[in-house]
Assembly symmetry: C2
Homo-oligomer: 463 residues x 2
């Protein structure tokens, strides 16, 4: 596989397609288009400059850019909000970065069908606000509201609310996607059931911008309900907390989310924000979010979950009913990553069967002691997706720790990524979670969609 050069002629052609204003080649202006939020990115990955950043406004322009790039064999890396945590938008081979930022229109909130139709560049935060105003609720909530819909679909984003509602995949009903060869496909639609041939839409969901550029989406909405209840439940040790998670999941009330977090991460975030977590008790805390159709339902469901917590050695239960209290705990939870980030070396996204979480976290503890490195742990306990945050250490130790955790997770039936995806960061380790034949099939499927291997080529594709 060889790639063509982005020369002056090509830049001219790109400008003809998108308009001069929307094609950038100035290095300073391209600085923000080189990588995503991956903390490992600058340290361990090669993060080159693209040759040009293109910011189209219409699907027809994207189709033309891709046709041209395909003809000239120019690598094209689609880019959403750049909030990813896997180096999935790094233009490894240079070429064109295709930023979706100008395709940010919410086209329609369809009240009759409970669907929203929107362009791929809409930020999640804007989507939430727009549908709330119309009395609707969009459940998937990956941490960063600056993420864009297209990226969230391309990475099948998860977040804290998947316990009850699942990942993006559960809410995507239709997509418009431009193939690397320029054809525009409209897959699915405003349909709750659709069994007409291979699920190409589901193949593209989670394909991380390697099979096509998502330009538009039709998403399912729910009617908005009463504000959820948030319970904060401290435990004296991890074992009790994790055991409670499993009991809650079996208990008949499925919460919106169950987050687990440990003392160190909480304290770091408290300090970072100058806020106070509602309890000083315990080494670990659960944060349980509970929804229902109205306050009565939420209250009775919360009681049910509180009983389970009490029966499982909770040290206390703090009910964040008031908006102010809820915002406080949500803010502390959501800023943990930022509070730790400066001292962090790596963020693992290993996911195991929920029942194995306790055992996996014990392994984390062992590894942490063995290598003498702090490994702060918190995350989506209700999904078996507990993020391990490795604090600063040397690269050799990182590699060893990664190997040990990946192996242990794998042995337990887990995978190297539950929600962040593969990107450039994990492509070298994909073989741990997917076997040779699977990777062979994936490469062949890539070739079907992208015969010249121009779209978001990582280290494995188009090798």
């Amino acid at each position: 596989m060889y790639y063509g050069k982005v020369d002056e002629n090509l830049i001219k052609e790109l400008k003809n397609i998108c308009g001069s204003k929307y094609v950038i080649t100035d290095k300073d202006q391209m600085l923000g288009y080189r990588t995503d939020e991956t903390i490992e990115a600058e340290k361990m990955l090669r993060v080159p400059f693209p040759d040009a950043v293109v910011k189209p406004r219409f699907v027809e322009e994207i189709s033309e850019v891709l046709k041209l790039s395909n003809k000239k064999r120019i690598p094209v890396t689609p880019r959403g909000g750049g909030t990813g945590l896997s180096g999935g938008v790094i233009p490894v081979y240079g070429g064109i970065v295709l930023s979706m930022e100008n395709m940010n229109k919410i086209i329609e909130i369809d009240k009759e069908n409970l669907m929203v139709v929107l362009e791929a560049g809409v930020a999640l935060g804007d989507l939430y606000k727009a549908v709330e105003r119309e009395g609707f609720f969009f459940p998937p909530h990956p941490g960063d509201e600056g993420a864009q819909i297209g990226g969230a679909i391309a990475t099948n984003a998860g977040g804290a609310r998947t316990v009850k509602y699942g990942t993006m995949r559960s809410f995507v009903k239709g997509i418009e996607v431009v193939l690397p060869t320029g054809e525009v496909l409209n897959l699915g639609g405003k349909l709750l059931k659709n069994n007409t041939g291979y699920a190409l839409m589901h193949l593209i969901i989670g394909s991380e911008g390697t099979l096509g550029v998502i330009t538009k989406a039709t998403l399912k909405l729910l009617p908005s309900s009463a504000a959820p209840m948030i319970l904060v439940v401290p435990y004296s040790n991890r074992h009790d907390a994790i055991k409670t998670v499993l009991e809650i999941l079996r208990g008949g009330v499925i919460p919106l989310g169950i987050e687990y977090m440990e003392r160190e991460a909480m304290e770091r975030s408290e300090e970072y924000l100058g806020r106070k977590w509602p309890t000083e008790k315990g080494e670990g805390c659960l944060m349980v979010m509970i929804t229902g159709k109205d306050e009565d339902e939420i209250f009775s469901r919360s009681e049910c979950i509180m009983r389970i917590c009490e029966a499982n050695k909770a040290l206390d239960i703090f009910m964040a009913e008031q908006k102010r209290d809820q915002e406080n705990v949500m803010e502390i939870r959501s800023k943990m990553y930022e509070a730790l980030k400066g001292d962090m070396m790596a963020l693992f996204d290993i996911t195991v069967p929920p029942g194995r979480m306790g055992k996996f976290m014990k392994k984390v503890e062992e590894v942490s002691e063995k290598y003498g490195v702090s490994m702060s742990t918190y995350g989506h306990a209700g999904d078996g997706n507990v993020h391990v945050h490795l604090m600063k250490t040397d690269v050799k130790k990182y590699e060893k720790i990664k190997e040990e955790l990946y192996e242990e997770g794998s042995r337990m039936g887990g995978v190297i990524s539950g929600e962040h995806g593969i990107g450039l960061l994990r492509i070298g380790d994909l073989h741990i979670s997917r076997d040779r034949k699977e990777i062979e099939l994936m490469k062949k499927i890539k070739k079907v969609f992208d015969p010249n291997g121009i779209l978001n080529p990582g280290k494995i594709f188009p090798a």
Copy 2:
């Protein structure tokens, strides 16, 4: 593409692989392995005999059968419970029918992870019973409990409970699948989140046995809850009933299911069963199923939905609270198909955006009058998936009616199949719901998985 012959040598080899007892070539014994429940099958499709029926007991045998068939280019048609409604298991080119009936073990009900691991030949009815005994609930419920898990996954089966819980796709967490070339893949696992590379599992879900033979599955379970409430709500006309469906969907309480049925179908089923529907009022009825964590919750949710029905011209509301009453209405609903079947010509599975149902059903009425044919209508109103039952007429009229309904459904953003799938019955019309490029991609993907086109070859593949 050419196919090899099933000769005596091949039969001998098949017997060596599976044991003589498990290879059938006697025509009388193969009678039940030629087609499924598709009423159009014998009338409009070519339904040949296979050359042999093979009933393996182990995945290794399936792998060997497929390796052999791939080498000799023998068509292989995988077969589950044979309850499909699209002619998806008809061995068009003869060859081998691979029946999964002997792979019917429930391997594990994992109480910690809320998952069940089972072989593909387990009947849905057996799955429901087994998990209920352990305190769990498996939501997807396509009409026929004789359907097998493998087939239900291969067709992404739906049914009445998808309103709240979605189709099979939402509950499949892992599959073991044998490729046409004999390799065994294990995709997914006991995981609630998994973002490691292309979603091959989701590609295989709904691929109707053309990409691989599903041999095992890991399915998500829910804790069982209180028995649902069933409301039967008669309306003087279709318009009011369908309007109510949309209001319910927007109302904040998502029911387990919302079925719509018309007088004729109800009466036919009453007569067929010698049972009595709870009300004689109305031309159309809604049947609304409501779940919740306990009786209080169910009652309060039911009240909420009853208020919506009352505000939307319900003639009456019948609450089927008692088990006996519930069984009565469920039985009448579930036997409608059988009651009509003898006089039926075709069963349409067109699905439209929920908001278009009323308009689509008006079109059905017009077409029915235009051609002077009875077209009984009932089905999954909460999904926009209302089955139209065309009663006996000649094939020419059928073709014209089909064309008109497919075109109208398509214009409304609908598809030719919401849940029954494509099979042999709809393959000639697939182009109505999927464009040329999509079909080209599907063919190429088929080729990636099945280079010799041996697995469940229909009329389009491997053309």
